[in-house]
Symmetry: C2
Subunit: 119 residues, 2 copies
DNA sequence: CCGGAGTGGTATCCAATGGAAACCAGATGC
DNA sequence: GCATCTGGTTTCCATTGGATACCACTCCGG
């Protein structure tokens, strides 16, 4: 395999794909790109996310170096999540997907209606 | 809600996000962007995909108008999947994510190693 | 002084999802 | 005659995701 093959299971880019192919991670990244937020602030902004998934998602993003977690020893403890420079470069690309969604959502919904009609 | 809010559960862009947040769909789209392929050709190119998931994924992409399915009445039946113009515009954006992955995979893996070391 | 709420999570349970494998019909190759 | 190819569907089981409860701690209102 001289040329890296994204479609091979062992290709490292598949690992990154797994991260992008995580609905909650994408939403968190897009939000943090606009500025740091605390745990419960994120939870309130992202409708439908459970505490478990948010906690899990943030842990994953931190591990990948896309998000930085900072805990302040206040009472009660305050935890702030901020995007890293690396994460910001990814968020840029993700933003392009959001733009695509907004531009083409009508076309997709029309296609779905046509498909369901035929069935 | 005057400004559309991607983070609201009922926002239609969340539907598109769900499609993008599908590992197999992204891989299929990226492959078909290079040219039409038959079912088993896709299966062989995408390492690790099961027949069930490939069939399911293709059905979804067809429903969304991103992929066109054509069956030829040969024996045995030949089915060809091709990307649509709409799908091509999305594949473009997805390609940018793949580029990001290739460029920054080393940084991500380094971050993971650091994180796991600390734990 | 006694709830109730807010902090950032973890633990537990159950439904839904994903993957592995078998099976299908029909024809072709050996 | 048996395996193999076509493009799937069906069945079963492991993993995952979501809902809910709970944790320790403190502040605030009554």
């Amino acid at each position: 395999m001289l040329v890296p093959d994204t479609y091979a299971a062992n290709c490292p880019t598949r690992l990154v794909l797994d991260r992008i192919a995580d609905k909650w991670a994408v939403l968190v990244l897009a939000l943090l790109a606009q500025g740091p937020l605390r745990f419960n602030a994120l939870r309130r902004r992202i409708e439908g996310v459970s505490q478990k998934m948010l906690s899990q998602t943030l842990k994953g993003l931190e591990r990948d170096g896309l998000v930085r977690r900072t805990a302040f020893p206040t009472v009660p403890v305050t935890v702030e999540y901020a995007i890293t420079p690396l994460g910001a470069t990814l968020a840029e690309r993700v933003e392009l997907l959001r733009d695509w969604a907004e531009q083409h959502i009508a076309a997709v919904q029309a296609a779905q209606a046509r498909y369901d009609q035929a069935a």
